[in-house]
């Protein structure tokens, strides 16, 4: 780190000094650049390239590299040929694209709409709306799907029982493609919200004011100025939510299976859960998924790099708040309807499931029969010593992941977006790779890659944290990049001209301005780490059990009651921790803007 103050590609010539000093400084700077890039590449090699190579090796062979050794490999494309020739894989791929594409479109409408309502309008109770609009993010997909199946299953859903009680013939059917699209859209809208709210909050309103002065209507300003200006945030949120949806197992497993709608993740899970498991075939399907998402990542890079999105410059401003007049009650109404549909109803369904002995509810009168309710699921949950241990482990691993991942992602994000170092393109590509790999498959690749390492990493919390850092690095970097891209270079240049070195500039200028983004990214990482199931499955041991794995154990054991009870505990825990991070983030925004001025 000694050389870093002069490294990182700052192309500012020293203002004073002799020719030799300048030469020495240039050599030091070059060495520093080289060391920095090499250091990042070594870290990425360990975290990403090595496990991904194991995955590719798995796809090209039918062996377990740890068990069979490297000498016995018989490389062939057989797995790919088998998978590509299977019409059911084609169907699963098409279903995945339709469900996730539709879900993403809905997520953008909801997420963007809410971020605009919260940040740029005078809708009442905005703080409350902002807090609860993030709640779906904390609910594990498996639990979200279970909650919605309780509500809207065509045969026994509570909403349908209610409709039947009212004499209405129409029925909700969540076991369908439109059902899956709605649930995806609703639960992944917070990804879009997090990106766009942050961008809207940090946006210079000058262009909007100009549009207003030029006679543009509020709607036309919104559509032609505001949203295009925050396009990187919208595209990042959209891309991230699409990719995350592609890798989700819980929702299509619970909602798609009864409706006979296979998707790629449910197909991959089947391959890994069979006895004997077909990991090599699963790895081949995962490579197909990687190709699809890799293409999308490339597309996003093209779109973002083609335009300038600098909206945070060296002057103070406060984003304009639009006076909606009486319409502000309409936007509040929209928010309330959203809350009821997205948060209140599923939470109620979970509460009913967690406190009710059994979920057989034929009539609405039975729903309110107090004799059917008890604390038995909570008692059984905490009777299991693993429950408490898993909570402690999960918080520990979440915090380690958020801190290490946050620092590493900031270093990578800064290198990619704010420097001209050679090797930064490779760093960009490598750090984006894990986004495309489903957790179910990469989990076993981490096991294969890291179990043999000396030093006793296996069996500790650290192996889980490292897997999560690697797996969610692209998400964290994307979240940070939005903030980094918006900071004008003039601010850093001003600091360099004033004699501040690179680290000082980062500490005094970049970090304070990007602080909301950094905290949002670390919060996102924390949430993702706490919910992550796929890559935990092979890395946890009896002493490092995490909540997501125990939750799956209960679900697989067929006890929706305990699953719901544990989900409520997890949700409350996350809510408290996220609320804390939200307060930090808000403080950061104020400070950041103040300092920029």
């Amino acid at each position: 780190m000694a050389a870093d103050s002069t490294a990182l590609g700052a192309d500012i010539e020293p203002l004073t000094g002799s020719y030799e000093a300048s030469q020495r400084s240039a050599r030091l700077r070059a060495a520093g650049r080289w060391l920095w890039s090499a250091g990042l590449l070594v870290i990425l090699g360990f975290l990403v390239v090595y496990p991904v190579s194991m995955l590719l090796l798995g796809a090209l062979t039918n062996t377990n590299p740890v068990v069979d050794g490297f000498a016995t490999f018989n490389l062939s494309l057989e797995n790919f040929v088998t998978v590509l020739a299977n019409p059911n894989v084609h169907l699963a791929l098409i279903n995945s694209l339709i469900a996730c594409g539709g879900g993403t479109a809905l997520a953008v409408v909801i997420g963007l709409g809410f971020s605009w309502i919260v940040v740029r309008t005078n809708t009442p109770c905005k703080g409350f709306i902002a807090a609860v609009s993030l709640v779906p993010l904390f609910v594990p997909p498996l639990v979200a799907a279970v909650a919605w199946s309780i509500l809207a299953s065509p045969k026994s859903g509570l909403l349908n029982t209610l409709l039947a009680g009212l004499g209405i013939d129409w029925r909700f059917d969540v076991y369908s493609m439109p059902g899956m699209i709605v649930i995806f859209g609703v639960y992944y809208a917070p990804y879009v919200y997090m990106f766009t709210a942050s961008a809207l909050r940090n946006m210079d309103p000058a262009l909007e004011e100009a549009a207003e002065i030029s006679g543009a209507t509020a709607l036309s300003t919104l559509l032609t100025v505001t949203f295009p200006l925050i396009a990187p945030a919208i595209i990042s949120g959209m891309l991230l939510s699409f990719i995350v949806m592609l890798g989700i197992y819980g929702i299509p497993a619970v909602l798609g299976t009864p409706g006979d709608i296979p998707v790629l993740t449910t197909y991959i899970f089947k391959l890994t859960a069979w006895s004997p498991p077909l990991y090599s075939t699963a790895a081949a399907v995962a490579v197909i998924l990687m190709t699809v998402t890799g293409f999308l990542v490339w597309l996003q890079h093209r779109v973002v790099s083609a335009r300038s999105y600098i909206t945070v410059a060296g002057k103070a401003f406060r984003p304009a708040v639009m006076n909606l007049g009486r319409w502000r009650y309409f936007t509040l109404g929209l928010a309330i309807v959203y809350l009821v549909i997205v948060v209140v109803l599923p939470t109620l369904a979970l509460i009913v499931a967690a406190f009710r002995k059994f979920l057989f509810i034929r009539t609405m009168a039975s729903l309110f029969d107090a004799r059917q309710y008890s604390l038995i699921h909570f008692e059984r949950l905490f009777d299991n010593p693993l429950a408490l241990r898993s909570i402690v482990n999960t918080i520990e691993v979440g915090l380690i992941t958020a801190v290490i991942g946050g620092i590493l992602s900031f270093a990578i994000g800064y290198t990619i977006h704010r420097t001209r170092l050679s090797g930064r393109k490779s760093i960009d590509v490598i750090s984006t790779l894990p986004v495309a790999i489903p957790g179910l498959v990469i989990g076993v690749a981490y096991l294969w890659a890291w179990i043999g390492l000396p030093g006793g990493l296996y069996g500790t919390i650290w192996i889980l944290a490292l897997a999560f850092v690697a797996r969610f690095m692209p998400d964290t970097i994307k979240a940070l990049s939005t903030s980094l891209l918006q900071i004008h270079r003039e601010l850093e240049e001003a600091a360099w001209i004033c004699g501040t070195r690179m680290l000082g500039t980062i500490r005094m200028i970049v970090l304070p301005l990007a602080r909301p983004g950094v905290i949002a990214a670390m919060t996102l990482l924390f949430v993702l780490a706490i919910r992550e199931l796929g890559s935990s499955l092979f890395l946890y041991t009896s002493e490092t059990m995490v909540m997501a794995v125990l939750l799956l154990d209960y679900y697989e054991g067929g006890n929706v009651g305990i699953t719901a009870a544990f989900s409520l505990v997890q949700t409350i825990l996350l809510g408290v921790l996220i609320g804390f991070a939200h307060v930090l983030s808000r403080g950061g925004t104020d400070t950041g803007v103040g300092k920029a001025g």
Binding site: S156, T257, W274, S275, P276, P277, K357, F360, I451, G452
Partner: protein, 348 residues
């Protein structure tokens, strides 16, 4: 008074002697049933085991709790995973010399036979009381035995099916029967193998005509049955039993035309860091007390020649039990599952 005094003394002495005899007897019985005193002392010193299982968390937790009532000094740390994932973990850990498990309990005897050399020689004290035909390797023992049953929601089904053949009747369709897909694992493969070998090659076709709802595993099937998504569920008895025990509106029957059984394979690993505690745990699970607990409280069956207890409606003298021929279990698997998938329209 003297007489009374003497009587009291005699009584006290006799009582003390009885208690001592009973205690010694109990200790002797314990030694006989759960292992010698040296094993128990050594297990006490080890104080814990790491237990890998493919069975579900909730029943395993209850088994551990019952074991700890008798042996509170052994802490059981459990790792639970579905069969395929558990085998991958064991193989990889073993290859890296980092196998953490002291005891493994797996539902797929075929896969366990492949890794039998990872297990040490072990025989429970009551080894001779077990059926000889269900062991796939001398090191591996049938700690867990599961039986297939037909369960129904009593609120929805007034005329339940009583046999496997009844499940082919049109009155139980469409979408009334919930069942687990054939490729889900060893237990379901056992059931569909039984169906075809017992009722003929066209059984699947007749049953599929009722358009059953297919689920990926027993858990969502049982959940759907309790919630009323389906009114009949083809389920492992223990899955339905625990729900019924807790008050769910379910009734369970053992079909009159046969009960397919699935035996687990359990053993103590060679790498065990706590071999004595591991053996004590398995000894208790395999003991008559342990097996009776499995059956009575959790709805399992047993591989003991003389079951200590039979679940309601299960009389081995009347009901025909069925266990697969192990060679056929291995050799027919892929082709038959493929055929089942086609017959039931399950997309693989």
């Amino acid at each position: 008074m003297t007489r009374t005094h003497l009587t009291r003394r005699q009584f006290t002495t006799a009582a003390a002697a009885s208690v001592a005899t009973a205690a010694l007897g109990a200790r002797g019985a314990a030694a006989q049933e759960y292992g010698p005193a040296e094993l128990i002392d050594a297990a006490k010193k080890e104080g814990k085991i790491v237990y890998y299982t493919a069975d579900f968390t909730e029943p395993e937790q209850e088994i551990i709790k019952a074991f700890n009532k008798r042996f509170p000094f052994v802490r059981v740390e459990m790792v639970r995973a579905p069969g395929g994932q558990l085998i991958t973990r064991i193989k990889t850990e073993a290859a890296a010399n980092k196998l953490l498990a002291d005891v493994v309990n797996h539902s797929d005897r075929g896969l366990m036979k492949d890794i039998a050399d990872l297990f040490q020689d072990y025989r429970p004290p009551n080894a001779d009381a077990y059926r000889d035909d269900v062991q796939v390797s001398p090191q591996l023992w049938p700690k867990t035995t599961l039986g297939w049953s037909i369960a129904y929601n009593t609120e929805l089904e007034q005329k339940p099916p009583r046999s496997w053949m009844d499940l082919c009747k049109a009155e139980y369709g469409p979408k009334k029967i919930g069942q687990v897909i054939a490729p889900s694992g060893g237990t379901t493969w056992t059931r569909i193998m039984f169906e075809r070998q017992t009722f003929g090659d066209d059984y699947w076709k007749k049953q599929a005509a009722t358009q059953p709802v297919l689920y990926p595993s027993g858990a969502p099937t049982a959940d759907a049955l309790v919630r009323g998504e389906v009114s009949i569920g083809v389920l492992l008895y223990n899955i339905a039993y625990m729900k019924k025990r807790d008050g769910a509106p379910l009734e369970i029957i053992f079909p009159s035309d046969g009960v397919p059984l699935n035996y687990y394979a359990a053993g103590v690993t060679k790498a065990a860091a706590n071999p004595n505690a591991a053996k004590l745990f398995l000894n208790w699970c395999m003991s008559e007390e342990g097996q009776a607990f499995h059956i009575k409280e959790l709805g399992y069956l047993t591989a003991l020649k003389k079951p200590p207890f039979n679940p309601p409606g299960y009389d081995p003298a009347v009901i025909k039990t069925w266990a697969p021929n192990f060679e056929q279990y291995q050799s027919l698997r892929d082709a038959w599952i493929d055929e089942w998938n086609k017959t039931y329209g399950y997309r693989q």
